[in-house]
C-alpha cells in the first residue's frame, strides 16, 4: 500500500508539472486528467475513499466539461485556425498514456496487497465526513460558499466583458 501511495504521488507531481509546462491546452488537459486520477488514488490510499470518489466525480464530471468548453470555445493558446488539427496527433497521447499505465500498476498493487493495509489507518465513511464537515470545520464550509459566490460573480463579469464588443 505504501508503494502504491508513493507511485500515485509521484505520478501526480509529474503530471501536474507537465500540465503547467505544456504550451497547448489540449495536451495540458490530458495530463490534468491523469493528475486528478493520481490524486484520487492518493486520497484512497490515505483512507479517504469518499473524498477519492468525489475527486473523480467533481473533476471528471464538471471541471473537465468546463475545460473542454474553454478549449473548444475560446481557443486559448493561440493555435486557432488550420493549425488546430496538428495539436491532436496520436503522439500526444503517449505521455499521458505512460503516466496512466504507471498509475494502473499502483492500483493493481493496491488490489493485490489486500484492502486493509493502508497508509492512513482506517477508511472514513461519508457519514463521518458530514459530521466533521458541519461540526468542527463549519467555518471552512461557509468560507467555501463565499469562494463560490466570488466565482459566480466572476462568471457573470466574464460574460459581461465579452459581450460588449458586439455592441450589446
Amino acid at each position: 500500500m505504501t508503494v502504491a501511495f508513493y507511485i500515485a504521488g509521484a505520478v501526480a507531481v509529474i503530471a501536474t508539472l507537465l500540465v503547467v509546462t505544456r504550451r497547448s491546452t489540449i495536451h495540458a488537459l490530458l495530463y490534468l486528467v491523469v493528475s486528478l486520477f493520481a490524486v484520487a488514488v492518493v486520497f484512497y490510499t490515505l483512507g479517504a475513499p469518499f473524498v477519492a470518489a468525489l475527486e473523480v466525480i467533481v473533476y471528471a464530471g464538471a471541471i473537465i466539461v468546463l475545460f473542454l468548453f474553454t478549449v473548444m470555445l475560446l481557443n486559448i493558446g493561440g493555435e486557432a485556425g488550420p493549425d488546430a488539427r496538428r495539436r491532436l496527433r496520436p503522439a500526444s497521447w503517449i505521455g499521458p498514456g505512460v503516466l496512466a499505465a504507471v498509475l494502473l500498476v499502483g492500483l493493481v498493487a493496491i488490489i493485490a496487497s489486500g484492502a486493509n493495509a493502508r497508509v492512513g489507518g482506517r477508511a472514513v465513511e461519508p457519514r463521518e465526513v458530514g459530521v466533521a464537515l458541519y461540526g468542527p470545520y463549519a467555518i471552512g464550509v461557509e468560507l467555501a460558499s463565499t469562494l463560490l459566490l466570488a466565482a459566480l460573480i466572476g462568471a457573470r463579469h466574464l460574460g459581461q466583458r465579452r459581450r460588449e464588443p458586439d455592441g450589446r
Binding site: F50, A53, L54, V56, I57, A60, G61, A62, I64, V65, L68, F69, M72, L73, R85, L88, P90, W93, E125, P126
Partner: protein, 373 residues
C-alpha cells in the same frame, strides 16, 4: 484459486452480460414501443409488418444499420470521433452497477450510489461535446454545445432532488433508498413535489419530450450527430433509446419503491427474487409510456425558455425544497405525515400557480413590447 473467488467472478460476468442485454433489449423494444404507442395515441397503426405486430421492426433496423458505411469526414479528428460513441455507451452500461433490479440482486452496495448516478450522467455530456467538436462541422458543434448546456443546466435540479432523497433515506446507497420506501411509503407519495422536480429534470436529461432541442431538425440538421453514420451513429441512437429505460429504472428506484410489491418472496432462486423483478419492469414501462405520452402532448420549448426554466424556476425551487424538507424533518411533530402534507401542498401550489404566473408574465411582456413599438 478459492471457490469463492470463482463464484464472485462468475457473478460479475453475469452482471455485465445483463447490463449489455438491458441496453440492447431496452433500446430495440423502446423504438418499437414508442412508434406503436405514438400510433395508438394518434389513432393510426404504426409499424406492424415485420413479425407479429411489428415487433421485429427494430431488429431489422439494427441489421440495416450494421450494413451502412461508417465513415468519418476527412476534416474530422478521427480519434475523438471514435472515442465519443464509445464513451456514450460506457455511461449506459456503467450506471447499471448501482441499480437494484430486484431483491437480493446487487451484492455490490456502493455507498456513494446517488453521487455515482450524477457522475455517470455527466459522462454523456462529455461524450456529446467530444463528438460534436471532433466532427469539425458547425451544425455538430452548435448542436453539441446546446445539448451540453441543456444537460448541464438540468443536472442541477436533478442533484437538488437527489439531495432530498438522500435526506429522507439517510444514506447515499440505492439499496438503502429502496429499503426506506418499505410498506408502500414510496417517495412519490410522501414527497411528490421532489418527484416532479426530478422527473422534469430527467426528461430534459434524456433530451426528449418538450426538451428535444438538440434534435430540432429545422435549425441544426441532426445536432451533434450530423456527421455520424453507420454504427457509430447507431451507438448514439441506441444510447438515447436505452436511456429511456435506464432513466426510468433510476426514477423507479428512487421514487416508486424500486422492486417492492406484493408477494416479494414468492419465487426466490439463489437469493435473487423473481416476482419483484416483474413489479420493477411494470413500473419502469409505465414510466416509459408516460415519457412517450409527454413527448406527444407537449410542444417543444424555445431555447431561452428552456434555460430560463432550469435556472429561474427549477433551481431556486430545488434549493427552497431542500431547506423546507429539512426543516419539516427536523422540527415538525409526526414528521412523516408532515413531510407528505408539505410536499403535496407544494405540488398543488406549483401546478396551480405555474400557469397563472406564466400568463401574467406574458401579459406584462406584451404590454412592454406594445409600449416600445
Amino acid at each position: 484459486m478459492s471457490w469463492d473467488l470463482v463464484l464472485a467472478v462468475v457473478r460479475l460476468i453475469v452482471a455485465v452480460l445483463i447490463a449489455y442485454a438491458i441496453v440492447f433489449v431496452a433500446a430495440l423494444v423502446n423504438i418499437v414501443f414508442e412508434r406503436r404507442v405514438l400510433g395508438f395515441l394518434q389513432d393510426r397503426l404504426g409499424p406492424n409488418r415485420t413479425g407479429w405486430q411489428g415487433i421485429l421492426q427494430s431488429v431489422a433496423d439494427a441489421f440495416k444499420m450494421m450494413g451502412k458505411e461508417d465513415f468519418a469526414p476527412t476534416a474530422a479528428d478521427k480519434t475523438m470521433f471514435t472515442l465519443a460513441p464509445i464513451m456514450v455507451m460506457i455511461g449506459a452500461v456503467a450506471i447499471q452497477v448501482v441499480i437494484p433490479y430486484t431483491k437480493g440482486w446487487t451484492d455490490q452496495n456502493l455507498n456513494v450510489g446517488l453521487i455515482y448516478i450524477v457522475a455517470i450522467t455527466s459522462f454523456t455530456v462529455l461524450s456529446i461535446l467530444l463528438g460534436g467538436w471532433a466532427s469539425h462541422n458547425k451544425y455538430s458543434l452548435v448542436g453539441a454545445l446546446r445539448t451540453a448546456a441543456q444537460m448541464v443546466s438540468y443536472e442541477l435540479p436533478m442533484i437538488l432532488a437527489l439531495l432530498v432523497v438522500a435526506m429522507a433515506a439517510g444514506s447515499l446507497s440505492l439499496n438503502a433508498v429502496v429499503a426506506a420506501q418499505g410498506s408502500y411509503r414510496w417517495f412519490v407519495f410522501t414527497m411528490p413535489f421532489t418527484f416532479l422536480l426530478f422527473f422534469i429534470a430527467s426528461v430534459a436529461e434524456l433530451n426528449r419530450g418538450p426538451f428535444d432541442l438538440p434534435e430540432s431538425e429545422s435549425e441544426l440538421v441532426a445536432g451533434y450527430g450530423t456527421e455520424y453514420s453507420g454504427m457509430r451513429f447507431g451507438m448514439f441512437f441506441l444510447n438515447e433509446y436505452a436511456g429511456m429505460t435506464i432513466m426510468s429504472m433510476v426514477t423507479v428506484t428512487l421514487f416508486l419503491g424500486g422492486w417492492q410489491g406484493p408477494f416479494a418472496n414468492a419465487l426466490v432462486i439463489h437469493g435473487v427474487a423473481l416476482v419483484p423483478l416483474v413489479w420493477f419492469l411494470v413500473k419502469v414501462y409505465a414510466l416509459v409510456f408516460v415519457l412517450v405520452w409527454i413527448r406527444l402532448s407537449v410542444p417543444r420549448l424555445q431555447v431561452d425558455q428552456l434555460m430560463g426554466f432550469a435556472w429561474k424556476v427549477l433551481i431556486p425551487l430545488g434549493l427552497v425544497n431542500i431547506l423546507a424538507t429539512a426543516a419539516v424533518l427536523l422540527w415538525a411533530p409526526h414528521w412523516k405525515l408532515a413531510m407528505a402534507v408539505y410536499s403535496w401542498l407544494a405540488l398543488i401550489a406549483f401546478v396551480g400557480l405555474f400557469d397563472t404566473l406564466l400568463r401574467w408574465r406574458l401579459k406584462r411582456q406584451r404590454r412592454r413590447v406594445a409600449v416600445l413599438t
